[in-house]
C-alpha cells in the first residue's frame, strides 16, 4: 500500500518525476531565482561590509549636508552653502533644460532634413543625404569634442567678441543674446496669457466637437489661434507699462552685462546633440512619410483636396502613427546622451552626481539615485507612449 502511494508520487500521470515538464519547470524557476538572489545578496553584503569598513552609514541623510562645490550654471539660484540634495536638483534641471531644448530643435532639424531628402530637387536631396550619412556614422562624443573643443573654446576672447545681429555676441564666454526682462506689470500680463491659453484650448475642443457632431464648418484651429494672439496683444496695451523690457548685452570691462547668456558648455552640448539626433530623426520621419501608400496621395487629390489638405488630413495622421514610437525613442536617446556632458563640463545630473560622489564618498547611494532618475525619465516616457499608441490604435478601423 505504502509502496503504491509512493509510486503514485513519483509517477504522476504515468510520467516519472524527473521527466515531468511541470516539475522540471518549477525546478528551473526555483534554481534561477536562487541563483539571481544569491548573486544580489553577494553584491549587497559586500557593499555593506565595505561601507562599514569605511564608516559610512547606509542612508540618504548626507543629502542634507552642505555641498560646498560650485556649479557653473543653474536654472534656479545656487551657491555652495546649499545641500547635496539641492545641488542634485540643480543638475537634474540642467539635464532637463538641455534635453527639452534639444528635443525641440532636433525635431525641427530632423523634419527639414527628411523633407529635403525626399525632395524632387536632386541637389537638395543630395545635400540632406550627405548630412545624414556623415552625422549618423560618426560617434556622438567625437562630434561633441569637435563642437566644444574645436569651436566654442576657440572663439575670440570677450574683448574681440564676434557681433551678430540681435544684437548678440559670440565669444569664449559663450553667446550673449538680447533677451527680455520682466517689469512690474509682467505678472499681470501673464494672467492674460494664461487666460488666452485656456480659452484657446476650450474653444478648440468645443468647436471641433461641434463640427464633428453637426457637420458645420467651425474653424477650430483658426479660432483658437486668433484667441491665442489677440488676448495677449490686447493685454500688452491694457496693463499700462510694457510688461517686458528689452535686455541688451553690453560689453563691460571684463565681460558682457545683461542679455541672456548661453554658456559654451551648454551651447556645445546643444549643438552636438541637435545635429546628431536631427540626423536620426530625419530618417525616422522619412520612413514614416514613405510608409504612407502612394494611392493615398492620389485618392486624396482625386477627391479634390488641396496639397495642404492632403498633407494635413490624409498623409500626416497616417505617417504620425509610424513616426511617433521611434521618434520618442530618439528623444529618450537624446536625454540619455546628455549624460556625456560630463566630458565637456556641462553640469548635468550625472556630472553633479559624480561631484557629489567625490565630495561625500557615498558612491552606491548616489549612483542608485542617478539610475533611478534616468529610469524614471524612461518609464514616464514609455507610459506616455503606450497611452498614445492605444489612442492611435483606436482611430484605426
Amino acid at each position: 500500500m505504502s509502496q503504491s502511494s509512493l509510486t503514485r508520487v513519483f509517477y504522476r500521470k504515468g510520467v516519472p518525476l524527473w521527466r515531468d515538464v511541470v516539475v522540471l519547470q518549477w525546478i528551473a524557476q526555483i534554481l534561477s531565482a536562487v541563483l539571481v538572489l544569491a548573486f544580489l545578496w553577494f553584491f549587497v553584503s559586500n557593499v555593506l561590509r565595505g561601507a562599514e569598513v569605511r564608516g559610512l552609514s547606509w542612508s540618504y541623510s548626507f543629502l542634507k549636508e552642505a555641498a560646498g562645490f560650485p556649479i557653473s550654471e543653474s536654472v534656479i539660484p545656487y551657491d555652495e552653502a546649499q545641500t547635496f540634495g539641492y545641488a542634485f536638483i540643480v543638475g537634474l534641471l540642467n539635464t532637463l533644460k538641455v534635453s527639452l531644448v534639444g528635443v525641440v530643435l532636433a525635431t525641427i532639424l530632423g523634419i527639414i532634413a527628411a523633407v529635403a531628402r525626399l525632395s524632387t530637387n536632386w541637389l537638395v536631396s543630395r545635400i540632406a543625404s550627405v548630412y545624414i550619412e556623415i552625422i549618423r556614422n560618426v560617434p556622438l562624443l567625437v562630434q561633441l569634442f569637435f563642437w566644444y573643443f574645436g569651436f566654442f573654446q576657440r572663439l575670440p576672447p570677450v574683448q574681440e567678441a564676434t557681433a551678430l545681429p540681435g544684437p548678440s555676441y559670440l565669444s569664449q564666454r559663450g553667446l550673449y543674446i538680447a533677451w527680455f526682462k520682466p517689469t512690474s506689470t509682467f505678472w499681470l500680463w501673464m494672467i492674460f496669457v494664461g487666460v488666452a491659453i485656456v480659452a484657446a484650448l476650450v474653444l478648440y475642443f468645443y468647436l471641433s466637437r461641434y463640427q464633428v457632431q453637426t457637420g458645420r464648418t467651425t474653424y477650430p484651429v483658426a479660432t483658437a489661434f486668433a484667441v491665442l494672439v489677440v488676448l495677449p496683444v490686447a493685454g500688452w496695451f491694457l496693463v499700462g507699462d510694457n510688461p517686458l523690457a528689452s535686455n541688451v548685452p553690453v560689453l563691460g570691462k571684463f565681460n558682457f552685462d545683461g542679455g541672456l547668456r548661453v554658456t559654451p558648455e551648454f551651447a556645445g552640448m546643444l549643438v552636438g546633440l541637435v545635429v546628431y539626433t536631427g540626423a536620426f530623426i530625419a530618417e525616422v520621419v522619412r520612413a514614416g512619410i514613405l510608409a504612407v501608400h502612394k494611392g493615398q496621395f492620389e485618392a486624396a487629390r482625386a477627391l479634390g483636396l488641396t496639397q495642404m489638405q492632403v498633407l494635413r488630413l490624409v498623409v500626416l495622421p497616417q505617417s504620425l502613427r509610424v513616426i511617433i514610437p521611434p521618434l520618442i525613442s530618439q528623444y529618450l536617446n537624446l536625454a540619455k546622451n546628455s549624460s556625456l556632458a560630463i566630458l565637456i563640463g556641462y553640469a548635468d545630473v550625472f556630472f553633479v552626481g559624480r561631484t557629489i560622489i567625490n565630495q561625500s564618498g557615498r558612491a552606491v547611494p548616489v549612483f542608485l539615485l542617478i539610475m533611478a532618475i534616468y529610469l524614471t525619465i524612461s518609464l514616464v516616457t514609455s507610459v506616455i507612449m503606450n497611452i498614445y499608441n492605444r489612442r492611435v490604435r483606436l482611430v484605426e478601423r
Partner: protein, 406 residues
Amino acid sequence: MSAQIKSSAPPAALGPLQWLKKNLFSTWFNTILTLISLGVIYFALKGILHWVFVTANWDPVAQSLKKFAVGLYPVEEIWRIGTILAMVSTLAGVSWGVWRGTVRTFALALAAGFIVIAVLPFDLYPPNGDPLDLLVRVGFIVLPVLIALGFLLGWKVPIKGSLVLLLWLLSFALAMVLLSGFRDSELLPRVSTNDWSGLLLTFLLALIGIVASFPIGVALALGRQSRLPVVKIFCTLFIEMVRGVPLVTILFMASIILPLFLPEEIRIDRVLRAMIGMTLFAAAYMAENVRGGLQAIPRGQYEAAQAVGLTGFQTTAFIVLPQALRAVIPAIVGQFIALFMDTTLAIIVGLLELLAIGKAVLQSNQAWLLRDKEVYLFIAVLFWIFTYAMSYASHRLETALGVGER
C-alpha cells in the same frame, strides 16, 4: 498589339540637359532651391577646402600616426600586432576565395588600405628616418600579398565555410593571447592592459563587446519570451533597467561600483571592467532586437517542429533562432555599429581608446594645443570609414540572405 508593345517600351535615357531640367529646374521653386543650394555648396566647399589645405595644421595627426594606431603598446612588442594583421589578412584572403561576393570588396578594400598606409608620405615610425620606418612600410606591402595568397588558397583548395569561421574564432583567441602575452615569459612578456590603447583598443572593445554580447543577448531574449514567470521577470527587469539608463552610467558602474560589489581579494582589470560594462549594455539592446525576430516567427513553426517530434531545445536551436536571427540582421548590424561608436565612451573610465589618444596627442606638444579641430576631424573620418563599411556590409548581407523578401 505591336503598337502596344512599342508604347510600353522603356523611355529613352534622359540627355544631360533634360536631366538637369527634370531634376533641378522643373518649377520656379525648384530653380530657386537649386540656386540657393549651389550657393551654399560653393561657400561651404570654399571654406572647407581653404581650411583643410591652408589654415589647418595637420602635424599633430601626421606625426602621431603610430600613437593613433597602437597608442602606448610597447615599441619592441609591435611585431605582435604585425603578426595579428598578417593572420587577419591571410584569413580575409581565404574568406574571399571561399565565399566570394561581398567579401571580395572587403578584402580588396583592406589591401588598398594597407597599400595606402605603406606609401603615406608621413613618418609611420617616428623619430624621423628610423630604419624601422622602412620595415613597417615593407610589412604593409607584404599584407596585400598575404591577402592574395590567401585568396589563391581559398580558391584552389576546397575549404568548408564552417572551417573558415572556426579559423576566425581561433585567430581571435590567438590574437588575444598574443596581445597580452604571459607572465614570466621571455619570448612573450606580459603587456599590461593599461598599455592597450589607440585604434587597437577601440577595435578590441568593439570586437569583444560584439562577440560576447551576442550569445548573452540571445539568451536574454529567449528568457524574456520564456513561459517560466520567474525567468521572464528577471530577464525583463535586466533588459529594461539597462536600456533605461545611459551607457555612461553602466560604464561608471562597472568601473567604480563593481569593485565595491566584490570582496577585496577579487580585483578585475580596468580594461576588462569596461568590457564587461559594454557587453552587458550591448546585450540588453541585442536582446530586444532578437525578441523582435522571435515575435515574427509564426506559431505554426513551433507546432510543426513539435509535430515532427523535436524537443524544446531542438525547436529553438534549429527552427526558431535561425529564422528569427535572419529577420533581424539589419537591426543587429546596426547594433554592432552603435557599439563600435560607443567605444569612445570608454574615455570616461580612463581608457586610452582612439578619442582619448587624440586628447593625449593634443596635450603632448605645446604647439598643437589649439589643433583640436584637425585631430577630432581625423578621428571622425576614421570612424566614418569603418562604420560606413559596416553598414555597407549589412546592406549586402541583407540582399544576399534575402531578408524582407519573404
